[in-house]
Symmetry: C2
Subunit: 303 residues, 2 copies
């Protein structure tokens, strides 16, 4: 019955039409199906990591625009095979999974050290920002910057990545200059936005999240594993560009400044599926799915 209502214009601050009109805009599946090749961009092999676990591959897209020093360190560590044979040492429910050197025995390779904080950046540095008009509890502005959930403050002119599900950050100690990239964490629960601007976020897991999020939780404090045998080994972490092309995960990400992505957001803000009796009218930053898929090869794009 809702299908016969007309679509109301979206007014960001008007809560609740009652009963809710059903939208007759497309579903997310329909948006993706109707998207054009130009609505997508392939992952850049130079800024993509493959973390190989016994259960499979976790693919991470790096965000050098926000944390160039940390990303450079992580890439140098991967090239030095620093991560190979380390472990997932922590899985704290509704919070993070973390990996690194469980015994703090492995020295950092020569030339790689602890870094000055890249917890936020000048607002002009990230190359794009597509604002989400729905509002946010934590930041004055939120949106998407080239595939990553981000936030910014016109005063004091700062931008930063947001701690949404699947975001990857650099663990550090109390000293703000104590992170090197040798120990990384991934968000596996409700977005811990209180961490925004307190750590360097460096990327996002774009495939394989379920290999991390379904790990048994650690029983020691903060979700660390109490026993070595509970840890999951990291077989290797490699930069995609260093992996033979035939072994790469050929993925593409929706362009977050495209009309297709705007349509995707609307398909999730006001769900057109018949199941939804009431439409939310708004969407939280971390509730927007940033679509990733196997790369669709068109004839003209083939090498």
């Amino acid at each position: 019955m809702y299908r016969n209502f007309k679509v109301l214009p979206l007014i960001a601050l008007s809560f609740f039409a009652m009963p809710a009109p059903a939208a007759n805009h497309p579903t997310m599946a329909e948006v993706l199906s109707a998207s054009r090749p130009s609505d997508w961009r392939p992952l850049d092999p130079d800024n993509t990591l493959y973390a190989e676990l016994p259960s499979g591959r976790v693919v991470i897209e790096l965000a050098p625009a926000f944390a160039p020093l940390h990303v450079a360190n992580i890439k140098a560590l991967a090239r030095a095979k620093y991560f190979d044979g380390l472990s997932i040492i922590r899985a704290q429910d509704d919070y993070v999974v973390q990996w690194g050197d469980p015994d703090n025995l492995r020295p950092l390779p020569a030339g790689i050290g602890k870094l000055a904080p890249e917890f936020d950046s000048p607002i002009s540095r990230p190359p794009s920002f597509t604002r989400l008009p729905d509002g946010d509890v934590y930041a004055p502005e939120v949106g998407f910057s080239n595939g990553f959930p981000a936030a910014r403050a016109p005063k004091p002119q700062l931008a930063w990545l947001a701690h949404c599900y699947a975001m990857v950050g650099v663990a550090r100690d109390l000293d703000v200059q104590s992170g090197s990239g040798a120990e990384l964490y991934v968000v596996i629960g409700q977005a811990p936005r209180q961490l925004d601007r307190n750590v360097a976020l460096v990327g996002r897991v774009v495939k394989g999240m379920e290999l991390l999020s379904s790990l048994p939780r650690g029983g020691a404090e903060m979700g660390f594993y109490a026993h070595a045998e509970q840890r999951t080994p990291i077989k290797s972490i490699r930069i995609a560009a260093d992996v033979p092309a035939s072994e790469r995960s050929d993925l593409e990400v929706i362009r977050t400044d495209s009309a297709a992505f705007a349509a995707l957001i609307e398909s999730r803000r006001n769900r057109p599926e018949e199941f939804f009796r009431v439409q939310a009218g708004h969407i939280g930053l971390c509730n927007v799915p940033i679509a990733v898929r196997e790369r669709q090869q068109s004839g003209s794009q083939s090498p």
Copy 2:
């Protein structure tokens, strides 16, 4: 160094003091440690479920104030041992775990049927509401009602439970009157607030979430398990009052209308721990931990 700043008053809509002053209020651990017995309430055995899995017990507090018909159905189903031997049939990453009859073969016990929607309620029905002043993307007002995250709209005078992590809901089909309580789901990811007012929420997992959230994700559509052997069996679901006292989980929940809970919220809104260089200044509804602990027996309270 931040420790020497004075505490600024919290102003809900002023974003960003820069640099952030460190709060000198207590941490959450200190708040809980300083709380009094009267800041806590024991779980009501008549409105507590124990879902027994091979890996252990999941404890659910039911919310009859919001969904009395659905809670009554679920309790009747538990008393009829309807759930015993059913399975967890779905685990969709960053969304929900769901259990029920995988083959839809088990008839509902006599007298238990599909229910009219209890997706929201008159604003006056829930006995309490402690507002969280930090704002929300999805609802005009959010807060806590007797231990549950909740939302409300002064117009049209409705209240409802919010889909935060660990909330338990009643699965249904497209028909709004198709849920019985025989199939339940639990939120295991970023709060899917778009489901608010579209399904009947009936309670919250207060212990054992990690037994659900760490389950392998299902490989079929919507996270359903493709193969029967991937499902986790439900040994039994019982009402705590029906379990011998010696076998009960003796838990207590912080009173969400207490001063201690207000202090807990502030300890999470502006984290006083030295790690935090920037304090958020705000907190999302689903980021507030509703503390649960083993019941602290004082001498005078012993039977």
